[in-house]
Amino acid sequence: MNKRILVIDDDEAIRKSFLLALEDTSYRVDAVESGEKGIEKVTDTGYDLVFLDLKMPGLNGVQTLKRLREMDAKVPVYIVTAFHKEFFKDLKLLSEDDIAFDLLRKPIGSDEIVLLTESILRKEQ
């Protein structure tokens, strides 16, 4: 079965970047524009990898991750960020609480997206 990837980002340019980069791969990619919609998606469908934005209206990345972890403790979550200082403290608290995530620094190109995705999902197999 094809692996599923979810992109949660309020910026269309970022959502499209992931969709275009992963278009020719075997992965099924969904992209939503808010933390709330991301939670809904995860509730309905299981995902193998989540790319998550930090700064979003409504639920921000940190809050979304907390909710995600309540539903799925294992799915790899990559926080795609340009390093917003205001979230550093929260992120630190998350790691202290053993809430797993990885950081991915914006901007990233399609080759890196594909490489990274393949390496994570291969590892997960």
Binding site: D11, A13, A21, K106, G109
Partner: protein
């Protein structure tokens, strides 16, 4: 107030001179009677002298009146403050303040303050601190020393206020730069991926292919600039203990290998003078490499054809710090530009040759590591950048 003691008026060949141990306070002062009107006229003369800004500005007051008559037994008992107030025009407007003064002689008795009150607002204020410092100075120093001390204090004040302005300017710019950089990151990621997508789906023989490759190169250039802006925007020292250690000599070797083509093509001599056993620097090796790569690249750019082309790299330990000098024998920096070189976007390079971010990034990284960078330059002779980096994590160069 400073009490300089009683000031005697002496009668000397019809010239009356008022002196104390430091200043001649008044000369050619002839009193036949002391009237309020006369005092007002003396005071206005004092005020005029106050605004005297000549090079030989006198801290005392010279008062000349039209009549010089022999007078006996006149005494000025006054508390006298001499000072030089900073003025926009430069060092030293001599200023004086007579306070609590009584001039008595034959005729009326009027306090000096009363006389001063008859005049328009003198337009200056002496602060308590200033007076306290003045008191200390006058007690301790001769007049020449006083001048020197004041000149040094004034220069110090000027340089401190310039530093404050500079720090504030950088902080504002840093906040702005960080805001812009963050806002640009998303659209840049979009453009990068759109261009890469188009290139991927362009046939190998399509002439639009190379153009898309160029477009990708340019957007990567934007990403690089924005990344530098984010580095620059971190104006505060990061409160962290560096786990990593960077080896200075190997960093420099890597940079020199990287620049080897330009170094040999331009026939530049690299002269290394390292002290023995230089300890590793606590910090991020990549960032340290960025610092010295920028400094050495700038040094290379400053070397002009025909000149003696040398770059001197010196390193030694100074107490708890590593002191590094990167000096060139190039064109030097104009004195007026020297204060701006660490400002973001300041560049003297031709359009398209530099972003003007190199040195501001260098200085941010050094600050982040608790260090300090300074620059000395002589136009036509060359430039030397001096870097101080703490050798133990958590240490910091006292920047005051």
């Amino acid at each position: 107030m400073i009490e300089l003691g009683e000031i005697k008026l002496k009668n000397r060949d019809s010239v009356i001179e008022a002196r104390n141990k430091i200043h001649t306070l008044a000369r050619d002062l002839g009193f036949d009677s002391i009237t309020a009107a006369r005092l007002a006229s003396v005071s206005s003369e004092i005020m005029r002298k106050m605004s005297y800004t000549g090079k030989d500005s006198h801290p005392g007051i010279m008062i000349a009146l039209d009549q010089a008559k022999e007078t006996d037994g006149l005494a000025l008992k006054l508390k006298y403050v001499s000072s030089r107030l900073g003025s926009p025009g430069g060092l030293g407007v001599p200023a004086a303040l007579f306070d609590d003064v009584t001039i008595s002689g034959p005729g009326e008795s009027v306090t000096y303050i009363e006389a001063l009150k008859m005049l328009p607002d003198p337009g200056f204020r002496l602060t308590k601190d200033f007076l306290a410092r003045e008191r200390e100075l006058v007690g301790r120093l001769t007049r020449e020393e006083l001048y020197r001390e004041l000149a040094v204090s004034y220069e110090k004040l000027q340089s401190q206020s310039m530093q404050m302005v500079q720090t504030e300017k950088l902080r504002t710019l840093g906040t702005m730069a960080a805001g812009i950089a963050h806002e640009l990151n998303n659209p840049m990621m979009g453009i990068l991926n759109y261009v890469q997508y188009c290139r991927k789906h362009t046939a190998a023989d399509d002439r639009r292919g190379p153009v898309l490759t160029d477009a990708e190169k340019e957007i990567r250039r934007c990403i690089y600039i924005v990344d530098n802006l984010l580095t620059f925007s971190r104006t505060e020292k990061v409160d962290r203990k560096w786990q990593e250690r960077a080896n200075f000599a190997s960093i420099i070797d890597r940079i020199l290998r990287l620049l080897s083509y330009k170094i040999s093509a331009d026939q530049v001599s690299i002269i290394k003078k390292y002290a023995e056993n230089i300890p590793d620097i606590p910090g991020d090796e990549n960032k340290m490499e960025q610092v010295f790569l920028n400094l050495i690249k700038n040094a290379l750019d400053a070397l002009k054809p025909g000149d003696r082309k040398e770059i001197h790299l010196e390193a030694q330990t100074k107490g708890n710090f590593l002191a590094v000098t990167v000096a060139d024998t190039g064109s030097g920096i104009k004195p007026g530009d020297l204060t701006k070189i660490f400002d973001p976007f300041f560049t003297t390079k031709e359009a398209g040759m530099g972003t003007g971010l190199g040195l501001s990034v260098v200085s941010s990284i050094i600050r982040e590591h608790g260090g300090k960078i300074t620059c000395e330059s002589e136009p036509g002779q060359g430039t030397a950048f001096k870097v101080l980096l703490p050798l133990s994590s958590g240490e910091e160069v006292n920047l005051k």
